[in-house]
Point group: C3
Chain length 284, copies 3
């Protein structure tokens, strides 16, 4: 299947589709990766031989670090994806909602950094299991002068409680897997060397259930309707994205090393330092 999806490695084993995200250098959520994931989800939607989808990363350090920041200079890059977005959802929200409403059971196996749109992907999945030693989750958008625009405000507000959602959304700091577990963001934090075996066993067990069981369970615990909130989220995001601060932070961030391994490993500091400098300038 892999030739179909330039950024994914897909394999199917006894009802479990293992989808490994492989979009070097750091798995940025760009148009190609979004296109590939959506294409895959759509293709298997009606395929009863696929019962569980496990997403993981080919990169030991990064799951998805955030949405492609070059969007700032190519605002039309996502236009094709936007054509397929359901009424009332922007292209990033539509991406999360496609994951959240997939009929199969979706599981994220998280062993690296997931930030911004990558963290939204994680949260949209049905379940997430994360490495205690290596996983990090963050909504880093505020450090780019914006708020999340792909579902995080609604997903986290609903799942974490407003107190913790605001801390994550406004603090911008990464949390480790044990904190994410305590906050209810993910299902569980597991020792790195147990993560594969735990997720594999769970996925296989679920895939082996009698016909109809997965659908019945997902129907009995439907995804909460968040439509009103998405409009509010989009307005907040779009309003900020149009301001000079966001432009300077995103373009400046790219110049300073975002999208490179070194830059991404210290992205929070990189953006905070940049903002300190920008604020000090006459027209900052």
């Amino acid at each position: 299947m892999t030739e179909e999806y330039p950024t994914l490695r897909v394999s199917l084993d006894r009802g479990v589709a293992n989808v490994v995200i492989d979009n070097p250098p750091v798995n940025v959520l760009d148009v190609q990766l979004m296109t590939d994931v959506l294409k895959f989800l759509k293709k298997v939607r009606q395929d009863s031989s696929v019962r569980v989808i496990v997403f993981s990363s080919a990169d030991p350090e990064f799951f998805i670090p955030h949405v492609d920041m070059t969007l700032i200079d190519e605002p039309t890059a996502f236009d094709e994806l936007a054509l397929e977005a359901p009424e009332g959802l922007n292209v990033f929200q539509a991406f999360g909602e496609a994951v959240r409403h997939q009929p199969q059971v979706t599981i994220v196996k998280l062993a690296g950094i997931a930030r911004g749109g990558g963290a939204e992907f994680v949260t949209a999945a049905d379940m997430t299991f994360a490495s205690k030693e290596k996983a990090r989750l963050a909504q880093v958008e505020v450090l780019m002068g914006i708020t999340p625009g792909g579902g995080a405000t609604q997903y986290l507000g609903q799942r974490l409680g407003r107190n913790r959602a605001l801390e994550i959304l406004l603090g911008g700091d990464p949390v480790d897997a044990e904190t994410a577990e305590r906050y209810g963001w993910i299902n569980r934090a597991l020792p790195a060397d147990e993560l594969d075996a735990f997720v594999d066993r769970l996925a296989r067990n679920i895939a082996a259930l009698p016909d109809g069981v997965i659908g019945a369970a997902k129907a009995a615990v439907p995804a909460v309707d968040l439509d009103g909130g998405f409009t509010c989220e989009h307005q907040a995001w779009a309003g900020l994205f149009a301001l000079p601060a966001a432009e300077k932070l995103i373009r400046g961030g790219l110049e300073r090393g975002a999208h490179t391994r070194e830059g991404e490993l210290r992205l929070e500091d990189l953006l905070r330092d940049l903002w300190e400098e920008l604020k000090g300038q006459p027209n900052g």
Copy 2:
């Protein structure tokens, strides 16, 4: 009071009713146990001398392992209970809702295994405190080819968040008390040797409160209305229960040792092994 309730040992001390479930060999939730619990709840409903009800088990290994699986061969056994179920609720949902809407404070002291309908009972109670060493909670229904039909999908969906609810409902694995606490399923996990003293003190303190306080607190934090969800849950459950897989798993499970101590202690493996064999058969 005990003669009234063949499966319960009831004692009252300073406003606290201690209800010990004693339905050998393993405390299966059968017609008699359901009848006794409902009869007890109804009897004390208007009794202002009973303020707190603490449920525990006479069996050190089992609280309630699940609903009586012989239901598969005696579908009319629950007919009498069904006559008393409120409009829109099946007999198992009506059981949970009777617990959840009891005017007294209901507390489960959990020191053994509670699965399926037994776990639904636990979740329906106002509070649960569980032994770190001995308590286990599971929704094991999927291993019988069905989804829960007595409230678990709604209770867990509402209390745990969809990510953890789906893990519990579809994974079918038991979780220990510390995991159940982290997931918000129960109030607290406590060391086994502190459980009795903790619950006794709390129950006694609540029972000693001035008149009207318990009712005021419960009125100010009403049980969430889940009626729409119960219909959805029932349809999912009933649709699967009518399929051959459920019949084979439940009847086959009984033949392999369910309802016996040995079988119940390894029920998950017993059912998974059975399903592997059934799937391997020509008409499996």
Copy 3:
């Protein structure tokens, strides 16, 4: 600014207002403290130079132990504050809601005891970080013969789940910071010697965000509307406050040492002992 607020010490540094509650001997939430906090919140509401408000206590043992119990003998003391309460809210609910709806980010740094109306204040703030060693949270109202009347039933019912909310509301016992974190009541429990640095860094980082980001995030995750529940809470509280038990417990509690340091450090025992005696009296 301090002369304006007899019970507060206010300082502003780079967008962070540090508000230290200083109302000796034990920081009781009396008319003056409520008035000062409301006056401060109103004053800075439109002040864009204030972005984050951090509340802490000048008293190492007490944040706010509860509402002024002498209210029992001065029922008109709060009349002036009541005039400013929004339609449908009593004066204590209006206080919590003023905190909860403040446009700035509100953070409580908790290193002592917060009970009753003090705990409601904590819960109404956007975020709370608490000392593992020193913080304690409790809704102690039931030990005074009443249920909370300033938002706790609604805030906790919504945030903690009904099982844990009822435990806190009816048990009346203090919980430590780690339990409060596990219950989702607060954001995090931190070692006492890390608390200041953690909160200061977070507050400063949030205050340094580009214009509009805080408002956008708070708009995208709005405070849940709890208006129906406030009416229910008020009725429960007011009904109990009018009964002889509450009067005896509150007045008797004051006679036994409430509002003094020694009495407040053992308030739960003091009130339980008093109630045991009152119940033993002919007209108790």
